[in-house]
C-alpha cells in the first residue's frame, strides 16, 4: 500500500515538473518568435529600397517596379540621371504602367492610358493621376530609396 502511494506520488512529481517545463516552453516560444524578425514586412511602411542605381541604369527601358507595402511602385531613370517614382497601378482598371523612354511618358498597355512625368493623366481612359513618391539615391550603398513622405 505504502509502495503504491510512493509510486503515485513520484509520478505526480514527475508530471508536475514536466508540466512546468512545458508551460515555460509555451510562454517562452512567443517571446523568441517576437525577437526573430517576421518574414512578412510590415504593411505600413514609409520607405523602401526600390533597387540599386546600377540595376536601374542597366534596365532595358530605364525603369524598375518594386513593392511598397501592399502597393506596386515604379522607379524611372530620366535623362540627366534624374530619378522619379510613382505608384505603378493604372487608375483606370488596375493594370501595371510602364515607362516609355521614346515618348517620355508612363504608359498603360491595357487601354493606351498615358501619364506625364508628374504622374498626371494626359491621354486615354485613366480618370486620375498616379501618386508620385519621393526618391533618394544613397551613393554609399547605391540603393534607391523611395518614400511617401517628405524628401529623404
Amino acid at each position: 500500500m505504502e509502495k503504491s502511494s510512493i509510486k503515485r506520488r513520484s509520478f505526480l512529481n514527475w508530471f508536475l515538473g514536466g508540466g512546468v517545463i512545458a508551460w515555460l516552453g509555451t510562454v517562452s516560444y512567443p517571446v523568441f518568435k517576437f525577437m526573430k524578425p517576421p518574414e512578412i514586412p510590415e504593411a505600413d511602411q514609409s520607405q523602401v529600397t526600390a533597387c540599386t542605381f546600377a540595376e536601374l541604369k542597366a534596365s532595358e527601358n530605364k525603369y524598375k517596379t518594386f513593392k511598397f507595402g501592399r502597393k506596386l511602385g515604379i522607379v524611372v531613370l530620366l535623362e540627366g540621371d534624374q530619378l522619379r517614382a510613382y505608384e505603378a497601378t493604372c487608375t483606370h482598371l488596375d493594370c501595371t504602367v510602364q515607362y516609355r523612354p521614346d515618348l517620355n511618358i508612363l504608359w498603360c498597355a491595357c487601354h493606351n492610358g498615358k501619364y506625364d512625368m508628374t504622374g498626371r493623366n494626359i491621354a486615354g481612359p485613366p480618370p486620375r493621376p498616379l501618386e508620385q513618391w519621393q526618391t533618394h539615391h544613397d551613393e554609399a550603398t547605391d540603393n534607391i530609396y523611395v518614400s511617401k513622405g517628405e524628401e529623404v
Binding site: L12, L16, G19, A22, W23, I40, K67, N112
Partner: protein, 413 residues
Amino acid sequence: MRYLYKLLAVLVMSAVFSLPSLAVENNCQSCHADWEDEGGPASMWDGDIHKEVGLTCADCHGGDPTLEDMDEVRQGRSYVGVPKTVAIPNFCGRCHSDPSYMKKFNPSVATDQLDKYWTSIHGQLNEQGDAQAATCVSCHSVHSIQPAKIPSSSVYPMNLPGTCAECHANPIYMKPYDIPTDQYDKFVGSVHGRQLLEEEDLGAPACNDCHGNHGAAPPGLDNISAVCGTCHARQAMLFAESPHKEAYAKAKLPQCETCHSNHDIIQPIDEMVGVGEKAFCARCHDADSDSKGFETAAAISDLLDSLVRIERMAEATIDEAEIKGMSVDNERFALKDVRSALVESRTLIHSFDLEKVKPEAEKGMQLAAATHLRGLDIIEDYYFRRKGLAISTIIITLLAIVIWIKIKRFDNS
C-alpha cells in the same frame, strides 16, 4: 444749394437703377414665355450655354428684340426666324466656323465642326435635301444646349448613346436607310456599354469614340484596327505585324470585328482561341487543309488553359489560407504578377505567334506554381499552430489537475 444736391442725387440713382432696362430689352423671351407651353424655347433658354456667354435670341434668329409687335420684327432685314431643318448646319456654322468670332468666347474652341459634318453620312444626306438626317440640334438639342463636359448635356459621354438611339433605335424613322436599329440594345449589353453606363467609367467608349462625332460614319474595313487601337494599342500593333492583317485584307474581312463583333463586344473568353466549339480560329484553320494554323491555335489555347488553371488553383489556396486567418499579403501581391502575366499572354494572342505567347505564359505558370506552394506552406503552418494550441491546452489542463491533487494531498497530511 442743398436742394440742388438732393435733386442731383435722385437723378443719379434713377439713372443707375434704370441702366439694366436700357442695356438689354429682350422682348423675344418675355413675349414667347407668355404664349409658349412649358418646354418651349423661352423656358429652356435659361440653361443654354449661349445665354451663359451673353448671347440673345436675336444673335441667332436676327430681328430687333426691342420691338413688341411680331409683324414688325418679321419685316426687319436681319430677321432669320426658325431655319429650315436642312439649313441648320449652316445656320449654326455662321458663328461656329468663324475662328475670329469664336475666339472671343473661347480661344481654344474647335471651329471645324461644319467641315467635318459635310464628310459625315448625316451631312451627305443633308446635302441631298434629306430633312430627316441629323443636324446640330438632333444631338445638341435646341435652346438648352450645354457643353459636352456637363453631365446634363445631351452629348455627355454617358448620355450620348441614348441621344444617338433616339433616331438609330427607331425602326420607323430609320426605315428609309435600310440599316439595323439594334445597335443601342447591343451596345448596352456590351463590355463597353456596361463599363460606360453601369460603371460610369467615362474612359469607356461611347458611339462617337468609334464613329467620330461631327464626321460620324461607320469605320472603313481597313481602319477598324486603328479605331479599336486608339485604346487597345498593343493588340492593334501586334495584329498589324501578324500574318492575319494581309490574310484578312485579301478575304475582305474586318479586322478586330471578325472575332470580337462590333456593337455587342463581350468580354473576351479564352474559349474564343483554339480549335474547340466556341473557338474562332477553327472557323478558318482546320486540321486537314491548314494543319500549321490549327496546331498553333491548339497550342496557344493549351497554354492559356494551363495558366488559367494554375492561377485559379493558386488563388484558391491563398483564399483558403486567408479564410483561416493567416497573413497572405505577399502571396496576394504575387497573384497580381500572375494576373499581369495572364493579361499579357492574352494580349500576345493578337500576334498569333506561339513563340511570343509561350515565354509569357510559362513565366505566369511558374509564378502561380510558386505562389500555390507558398500558400500550402501557410496552410500547413496554420495546422501546426492549431496542433500546438491543442497540445499546450492538454498540458495546461493536466498541470492544473496535478496541482489540485498535490494541494489535496498536502491538506490530508
